[in-house]
């Protein structure tokens, strides 16, 4: 049974027969599982992660937008569709990042125990974490790319810098995914996730500048909005798509998002280890 055809380990002769002669990085092997699993769920995920934002775009941007434009003649100097489209890109990234870091992380720990299956193989805790976050990154890249293409077709894009809205959206998603994954790994039950939605994601979705400028908020509430990660994701995506980006504010937005994702990853390494290594 042992080494019947001599291709035992990860660097065994079996690996050398392939086009790609180097061993696959451990985290990428973990990511591979989620890609495999996606083969059976991609249909339903298209609805939530792609169709919904496009429907929002049509309803808010085109439907509501025509009304808004008629009365106020442009929001922040652009037609309402142009205003809301890049905001929805960031909001969608937030939703995907958060979604994928809640129930799927809990499932991989408690329900399907995927992480434990991985940890019996060469993968380490850190590879399991990177693989999962990497997969969330893949999801964010694909959804954001398609969404940006649709937005471009609506004629919203006003700057070549709009291509940078793709990494900006991915950073927005990961700024939510990493800290939420860190939190999910500490949970015994999924009840807290509902609270995150009710008290976190839905208020952010509505009041972080996606649908109207934050300046419309009462003065005392504005600092709260400025402090939220979605506000910075929305500003960054909007500035890049509409060509209103200026170096330092945009760098500030990006730095905020990257720092939050990085901090989340740092904490997740610890919570994952505490949960998975006994």
């Amino acid at each position: 049974m042992t080494a019947v055809d001599g291709s035992g380990g990860p660097a065994g002769p079996g690996a050398a027969r392939r086009l790609w002669p180097w061993p696959t990085p451990l985290w990428l092997r973990g990511l591979g599982y989620f890609a495999y699993q996606y083969k059976r769920t991609w249909r339903s995920s298209i609805t939530t992660s792609f169709l919904y934002p496009v429907l929002y775009l049509a309803a808010m941007g085109v439907g509501l937008g025509s009304l808004v434009d008629k009365h106020t003649h442009h929001v922040s100097g652009v037609p309402y569709l142009d205003f809301v489209a890049p905001g929805l890109l960031a909001a969608t990234a937030m939703q995907i990042g958060a979604n994928e870091a809640m129930y799927p992380v809990m499932a991989a720990i408690k329900w399907i125990r995927t992480y434990f299956a991985m940890l019996a193989t060469p993968l380490r805790v850190v590879d399991v974490l990177r693989g999962h976050l990497g997969w969330i990154g893949v999801r964010l890249v694909t959804v954001s790319t398609i969404y940006l293409a649709v937005v471009a077709a609506f004629g919203v894009v006003r700057s070549p810098l709009a291509v940078l809205a793709l990494p900006a959206a991915v950073a927005t998603g990961l700024a939510f995914a990493a800290p939420i994954a860190a939190f999910a790994a500490t949970q015994e039950q999924d009840v807290a996730f509902t609270t995150i939605y009710r008290l976190g994601l839905i208020p952010l979705f509505l009041f972080s500048g996606t649908f109207f400028p934050v300046t419309q908020l009462p003065g005392w509430l504005r600092p709260v909005a400025y402090a939220t990660p979605l506000y910075h994701g929305v500003s960054l995506c909007r500035d890049l798509v509409l060509g209103t980006a200026s170096l330092w504010p945009s760098l500030g937005d990006a730095a905020y998002l990257v720092a939050l994702a990085g901090a989340g990853y740092w904490v997740a390494r610890r919570t994952f280890r505490r949960r998975l290594v006994v």
């Binding site: 049974m1 291709s7 696959t24 495999y36 059976r40 060469p122 006994v278």
Partner: protein, 324 residues
Amino acid sequence: MTAHLDPSTAEPRPNGGPGTLVYAKGLVKRFGEFVAVDSIDFEIGRGESFGFLGPNGAGKTSTMRMISCMSPVSGGTLRVLGMDPATDGPVIRARIGLVPQEDSLDLELTVLDNLMVYGRYFDLPRKVIRERAMRLLDFAQLTERAHDKVEPLSGGMKRRLTIARSLVSEPDLLILDEPTTGLDPQARHLLWDRLYRLKQEGVTLVITTHYMDEAEQLCDRLAVMDRGRFAAEGTPRQLIERYSTKEVVELRFRSGEHDAVAARVSGLADRAEVLPDRLLLYTADGDGTLARVHAMGLTPESALVRRSTLEDVFLRLTGRTLVD
């Protein structure tokens, strides 16, 4: 292959001999204040089938998790395949197969996809995994279910799939943590047959169990574990010879009478043991002892003469039965 661990010879070679796959010296696992594994020594050689026998909570699973490099060692020395799990975990795990106590199959994926996904963790090319998967599904008698989801499979089928999955990487060492717990007798026998075949093919097996029949069937050598320590170690035959008699007479009287009867008949046997529901007499000649019991005018409600088993060894060593 070391049949017995002799500390004097084990000391100078901290990685064990060339044929040693697992070497442990003073191995400890602590969870806070609780000591789950309390300084155990053992060596497992290539091609051997080594069992950890003990009741729940004896420290078997903790030991398995340390050997499979999933749980850090709290103290002592552990070498697996000559390497240190603390520093070479990924390299070691690439060469061992683990059948955990709790299944970690993906119920929504098909039987075949579970093997494909798992093989990818070892970076095996898809073509290689597919070839092996077909062979392994045949071995696990799951070929017909290859394209079915795992969810509706029976407990025995899931266990066989988990074993097939652990073999995808063609490991040097296969670790099975209570492989048949919770299965019905038929499923257990089928599983034993498959594991026995692996043993015949020379796969090194490390098994934990609290079933003595499983240990007797599958293990060349056994460590009897109790409260984190080894109570005894040896081949099943050696253990029985060392710690029990050739035969056992089991007598059942009306409840409450066992202690009184034991006092009267204990002289007839090497040793008498009173259990809640029966009285055990350990003796070289079961029929002779039983005849003498009858000659004393005692009339047990039932009487049975049988050979000694590992259960008796365990009872002798710990004063408790294996499965409550």
